[in-house]
């Protein structure tokens, strides 16, 4: 097993009377992506801010690189906050060099690396542009560079894909994978289950401040069993289908959880009887999205 870079043991945090985190434990390891999943307001950002030492936990313990969080460990971490932004009137490379220098990177190195990464992300020629002159997607890329320029050993990304178009999503995805292959520990907080499913080695899902799922993607799926079907269809899907406990309908595609005792064949038969035109039917394990909805959706009893 790779070395654990972050070890959080039963951390709790309250704001005024609200408990935002309840006894949450997890670790993040070198060369691995840990997915931090959960609905809005679940406590993901709070957990991350505690890791970053922006505020302290009420109880529990966090160790980063085997030590308590300190000003020194800050320099080894790259952090992309969910609420992001850059100095609007400053120039791109200037901003990158300043932020990297605060992480302890010599300015000369930061300048060279910054130029290289800007070119790599298709932003060559924008070094002296003002941040406010860039498109939103470009700004996001600059912000991503600012996060990893100093080659941190721990990278914490809070919703890195939000606001990105598919092309930029792919670019950022490749960068994250490259960081992982370079041996960094990555904590990735996201709503995008499909991305998480494909990218994360392990996931932790929190809901209402409590950890509800934790393990490798395979482990989490195994816990939920094989009982899902995926259907490509046209026509109108019946509201209730015998043997199906939950339907996630996308209009031309649907994922269904099969209830206890039912089998995929029963579902197929019911669908054919209802007169829906089916072009593809597949028995599968549930997707993370399925599991997310089941664990944190309105039907879970916990609300979202």
């Amino acid at each position: 097993m790779n070395e654990a870079v972050v070890v959080a043991s039963s951390i709790s945090k309250s704001f005024a009377a609200t408990r935002v985190l309840k006894d949450v434990s997890f670790d993040a390891r070198e060369g691995e992506i840990l997915g931090l999943l959960g609905p809005n307001g679940a406590g993901k950002t709070t957990a991350i801010r505690i890791l970053m030492g922006i505020f302290g936990q009420d109880s529990g313990d966090v160790k980063i690189f085997g030590k308590k969080f300190s000003e020194r460990t800050k320099k080894l971490v790259g952090y992309l906050p969910e609420e992001r932004g850059l100095y609007k009137d400053s120039r791109v490379l200037e901003t990158l060099v300043y932020l990297a220098s605060l992480k302890g990177m010599p300015e000369k190195d930061a300048e060279r690396e910054g130029k290289r990464m800007l070119a790599e992300l298709g932003l060559a020629g924008y070094e002296r542009a003002k941040v406010s002159e860039l498109s939103k997607g470009m700004q996001q890329k600059v912000q991503f560079i600012a996060t990893v320029l100093h080659k941190p050993r721990l990278v914490v990304l809070d919703e890195p894909f939000s606001g990105l178009d598919p092309v930029n999503t792919n670019t950022v995805k490749n960068l994250i994978v490259a960081l992982k292959q370079g041996g960094a520990a990555i904590i990735l907080s996201t709503h995008m289950m499909e991305q998480a499913e494909k990218m994360c080695d392990r996931v932790m899902m929190i809901d209402k401040g409590a950890r509800v799922l934790y393990g490798t993607v395979a482990e989490v799926k195994a816990k939920y069993g094989k009982g899902s079907v995926r259907v490509d269809y046209s026509g109108k899907l019946p509201q209730k289908i015998a043997g199906v406990s939950r339907i996630d309908d996308f209009g031309a595609y649907a994922e269904m959880r099969i209830g206890k005792g039912a089998r995929p064949g029963d579902v197929l038969r019911a669908l054919l009887n209802s007169g829906v035109d089916i072009s593809k039917f597949e028995a599968s394990e549930p997707s993370l999205n399925d599991i997310f909805l089941e664990a944190a959706g309105p039907g879970s009893g916990s609300g979202a």
């Binding site: 922006i54 000003e71 800050k74 320099k75 906050p81 992001r84 932004g85 932020l99 600012a146």
Partner: protein, 401 residues
């Protein structure tokens, strides 16, 4: 320490390039230069500015007033004078009645809607005096006609004359105001940069790299250096101006060379008040920046804090009359108004050393408290977006600290 320096360097370099900074640093001296130049070229004309239309008079008192040149034309009767007035030969008519000597009342006639032409007091006074003093010895006449020239000599405790005059107190007030302006400009830059970093969400990235304490310290140092730059530029510009044009300008406005008044000791005290005032206001404004949710809100709150600093100006006449009086003493002890008050007082009179020491001590004690409180509040509230903590919340933050 390195982090503080990096933040200071960035804040300094960002702000020193700001247009508003350059306007104040170079624009203000330029404006003053232009005002001096105007005074220098039109000054003599301004002082002799008078109505050019002649004034008529009718002497019914029998005291024998006499006209002098165009400015006073005598008419035998009120009717003659009225006719001259209505035909616009004269702008106004002064009627010295038969019982003027007994009760001193006069009548002035002007055309309808022309009340502003009422005779200039000084001109009338000298006209009347020159009529009244006739027959007195010429020297007495001269003394009565021309006002006394007063030279005030202020003595210190040992009986030696103190080098002090009205211009000196004006110079001190001016220096105090410039220091205050400098303090507020750089403190408000500091506040702006805090609000900007908060609004643009750069703050969270910064705080994941360095501590809130270092960030605030860096900002205070960076903006402090900025205001020192401003003072140094002004000092250089004014030295150059005085060296080149000093003599004629000083002679013209009747002032003494400011550089002659300011001794190194005085300069040191000014510097202490400047540093104290800057630290006090910059830490307060940094704190206001961190608790506000927008630039507008922060400037509204800061206006309340800034008000007492200028308080000595409301009492400027009190200061002039009684520079060691109670109001002046209180204002120069109260840390928020101390810098300007004490600098003003020191220009007007000699302030006991003990008082200066006590005032500085109070100021720096307040600075210590203010920096501590601000650092705590800054750290605790800097990442609260969209909500401003209430007083009770702020107190509980300070209690927890």
């Amino acid at each position: 320490m390195a982090d503080i320096f990096k933040v200071a360097k960035r804040d300094y370099l960002e702000n020193v390039k700001r247009k508003s900074f350059l306007y104040v640093v170079f624009g203000l001296p330029l404006l003053m230069g232009v005002i001096f130049a105007i005074q220098a070229s039109f000054g003599s004309q301004m002082t002799s500015l008078q109505f050019t239309t002649p004034v008529g008079f009718v002497d019914e008192s029998g005291l024998g007033f006499q006209g002098n040149g165009n400015m006073t034309i005598e008419y035998a009767t009120v009717d003659d004078a009225k006719a001259a007035l209505l035909s616009q030969k004269v702008g106004s008519v002064l009627v010295v009645g038969p019982d003027y000597l007994a009760n001193g009342t006069l009548t002035v006639l002007v055309r309808e809607g022309d009340l502003t032409r009422t005779l200039n007091d000084n001109a009338m006074q000298s006209f009347l005096i020159s009529g009244l003093v006739k027959g007195l010895p010429p020297q007495v006449q001269a003394r009565i006609e021309s006002p006394p020239s007063v030279r005030t000599v202020e003595l210190d405790a040992s009986g030696k004359p103190v080098k002090s005059n009205f211009m000196q107190s004006l110079v001190a007030t001016g220096i105090g105001l410039l220091l205050l302006l400098t303090i507020f400009m750089s403190s408000s830059f500091l506040m702006q940069s805090v609000v900007e970093e908060k609004e643009s969400r750069v703050m969270e990235v910064l705080l994941s790299s360095i501590s809130a304490k270092d960030l605030m310290a860096g900002k205070i140092i960076g903006n402090g250096a900025l205001s020192l730059t401003q003072l140094i530029v002004w000092l250089i510009l004014s030295s150059v101006a005085i060296a080149y044009f000093g003599g004629p300008i000083m002679a013209l406005v009747g002032a003494i060379n400011p550089l002659e008044i300011i001794s190194p000791g005085l300069l040191a005290v000014y510097l202490l008040y400047f540093i104290g005032g800057f630290l006090l206001y910059s830490s307060l404004l940094a704190c206001i920046g961190s608790i506000s949710t927008s630039m507008r809100e922060s400037s509204q709150i800061s206006a309340i804090v800034v008000l007492p600093a200028a308080a000595p100006l409301w009492f400027i006449t009190v200061f002039m009359v009684e520079p060691n009086g109670q109001i002046a003493q209180i204002l120069s002890m109260f840390p928020f108004s101390a810098p300007l008050s004490m600098i003003m007082r020191m220009g007007m009179t000699s302030v006991p050393m003990a008082e200066i020491a006590a005032s500085l001590l109070l100021l720096f004690a307040t600075v210590a408290v203010s920096v501590w409180v601000s650092a705590k509040l800054f750290r605790a509230t800097i990442l609260m977006y969209g909500q401003r903590p209430g007083i009770t919340r702020m107190i509980s933050i300070l209690r927890e600290a």
